[in-house]
């Protein structure tokens, strides 16, 4: 019904290997892009843009980062918060030390710095595997947060030990960072970065490097025998993952909250992003978006729902029920589809292709 593929033929390898080989999908994605770039900033109110969409985009980017490492390369990481903090603090130092540096270059460089830190803490992954690898990334997490807290140099010796994102323009005097920039500008800027990086990640995942990661994930010894160098592959996953997380962290500080303290990137943040990756679907870029939506938006929706429906619920009970329902929903969705939302989406698409026939 929705997918009529009869008569659509690919006449070149390029067409056959496109990210979205089916025209219907391309149209859907294009429509989605228009909605995200035009309709949402125009129709969404401030609350929706600033507390739903912005955090969602940034978390989705961090989740893509972690998905590269955990989903594609199979290395469990609980250091995401630390790498995000690295990106945030690097961006702050760079943009205050070199006020003329363009914001895109600042973000790029802070991502690179986070990538270097990621490589350093990824080194033990050659020897430590599975759940045990969590210890190396947790060491990174606690050490990095402690370091940003401890040394005043990272905050330019601010008496409060916090960093405040300076206002920076993308071109001319169109500000895109800190609260002095308009919300729409910040949202569109974040959207642009996330879309570009998501497409890059998608293409990485289906090229040589992505296949190497997946070979390592599925069985590293077998991959090694086939001639894939485990050290180089694992470290490249750590580097790309931390690069994404670093940029997400910098965006969190520069586009979302404006002022952050290191504790904003504590271990709970790492757990939160790991949850997104698992429930969204390990090894799926689209799943990272679903996971971010689920973990960030669902609790807010649950908390707001009684108000929208016109019920008055005591504040504390509301929070407790929110926790309980959230927990039950996590278990429920895992039972429905353990492979995550990405798989659920795929099944749905298959169904639509065959509709109205069952198979």
């Amino acid at each position: 019904m929705f997918y009529r593929e009869a008569g659509q033929f690919h006449t070149s390898y390029i067409a056959d290997q496109a990210v979205f080989p089916i025209p219907v999908d391309r149209i859907a994605i294009a429509a989605f892009a228009v909605i995200a770039a035009v309709a949402i900033p125009m129709l969404g109110n401030e609350w929706f843009l600033s507390t739903i969409m912005l955090p969602f985009l940034i978390f989705a980017l961090a989740a893509i980062g972690l998905n590269i490492l955990t989903g594609y390369c199979g290395q469990l990481s609980l250091g995401t918060g630390g790498f995000m903090a690295t990106g945030a603090f690097a961006a702050f130092k760079l943009s205050t030390a070199f006020p003329d540096l363009h914001i895109l270059i600042v973000l790029l460089l802070s991502g690179l710095i986070a990538a270097l830190v990621g490589i350093a803490f990824g080194l033990p992954s050659l020897r430590i595997k599975g759940f045990y690898l969590a210890v190396a990334t947790l060491a990174a997490q606690f050490f990095l947060i402690w370091m940003f807290n401890k040394y005043g140099w990272f905050t330019n010796y601010s008496a409060s030990g916090v960093i405040s994102a300076p206002p920076r323009a993308i071109f001319g005097d169109l500000l895109v960072t800190s609260s002095q920039a308009s919300l729409e500008a910040r949202y569109l800027f974040a959207l642009g970065i996330v879309v570009v990086l998501a497409i890059a990640a998608k293409n990485m995942a289906r090229s040589r490097i992505g296949r190497m990661w997946m070979a390592i994930r599925d069985m590293d010894i077998a991959a090694e025998i086939m001639g894939i160098r485990p050290l180089r592959t694992k470290l490249s996953a750590f580097a790309f993952s931390s690069f994404y997380c670093g940029i997400a962290g910098a965006m969190w500080a520069f586009l979302h909250t404006g002022t952050v303290e290191p504790l904003a990137f504590d271990v709970n943040r790492s757990f939160q992003i790991l949850f997104m990756v698992i429930i969204g679907g390990l090894g799926s870029i689209l799943g990272s978006f679903f996971g971010a939506a689920f973990i960030v938006l669902l609790p807010i929706m649950l908390n707001n729902a009684p108000g929208w429906l016109g019920y008055q619920v005591p504040t504390d009970l509301l929070s407790h029920v929110e926790f309980m329902v959230f927990g039950v929903l996590i278990v429920f969705f895992l039972i429905v589809e353990p492979a995550g939302f990405a798989r659920l989406w795929q099944i749905g698409k298959e169904k639509l292709r065959r509709w109205p026939f069952p198979y």
Binding site: A159, S160, S164, P167, S179, N304, G307, D316
Partner: protein
Amino acid sequence: MKAKTLALAAVALTIGVTGTVATAQAEGEQFIPALVYRSGPYAPNGIPFANGFGDYLAMLNARDGGVNGVKIVTEECDTGYNTDRGVECYERLKNNGPTGAAVVNPLSTGITYALIERATADKIPVISMGYGRADASDGRVFPYVFTLPATYWAGADVAIQYIQEQEGGSLKGKKIALVYHDSAYGKEPIATLEALAAEKGYTFLKYPVAHPGLEQKATWLQIGRRDRPDWTLMWGWGVMNSTAIKEAAAVGYPMDKFIGVWWSGAEPDVRPAGDASKGYKSLALHGPGADSKAHADILKSLYDAGKGLAERGAVGEVLYNRGMINAAYMVEGIRTAQARFGNKPLSGEQVQWGLENMEYTEAEIEKDGLAGLISPIRLSCLDHEGGGKARIQQWDGEKWSFITDWYEPNRGMLRPMYEASAAQYAKEQNLTPRACS
């Protein structure tokens, strides 16, 4: 299954995008959002505060019909002490009521940081009463942030004044230690204590405690068994406080030489430690107990009618009172603004003017039924702290009571420090501080 999920998501999204589905808002009422935390790890501290805040405003509505006849309505939003959720609460509530949120009390250092710039852009004043960033006292750089009645820096100064008095006027050669939550909050007093150490000649020792502070054995072995400072100050929060008191008792550190900041001096901090906490002291911005006229009014107009938020016995707890006091300062700001803009619901911008020009005198405090609880303050465009004072209270195993009179923080020393720190912020942010004259 899928269709249903999609439909559900679509409904949620529509509601979300179109946003605030008309919540009951009456014309002629002043809306105040209440960002509280009644759940999560810090709930034991958040609950009494939220109750005091809500009860005081409800009492005003019941007793006086609001502020000069303008009823105050609040809506609670649970942040769980979580910065992300705090920001969401703020954005959710800021446009409610006929004039939007007139003032916001973030009630967490992390949320305060996140709101400073947002609220400034939205022209909604932020009252960070006894928390947040001390340098926001400079009203030229932070026009919409208020640190009344005293900052952490002022608190640190008061503690040293008290210690000096106890030591007979000289701190030469004494050792004073600070046990602090290793975060932006805990580090606030360090600069002040270091500056004072240089001036007064005491040795300053620092002991950071990693968040959340469940385990402090190493810290207290150093303090109680090796370094043995003459006095110990604490900037702690939540579970860290009771743990510290317990560990201090375990290593035999004398409780009456142990002084906490005002966030380390409430019932939930000392009760879990039991008898061990007897004699423990803390700074106080306001009085404990339920003896004032305002308390009597609350008990009469709310609790006798069964409408109070807390249990009757909890009225008058330290954090309950802090909620009341926070509400009282805020109401005084609104009142000042009403004197200029008229007795009607005011916008954030107008209340900002009110807060900036408020003068809460002894007589007015008396009239509000808060005599003896707080010290008078007076704010200005330049000074958003208002010259509040602090005193020392002590826990006797049953209740807190004042043991000193009010101390005036040495603002002659602090003010240049605020200004230097605020100037650095202004420079990073490319802000031009407004002129105050």
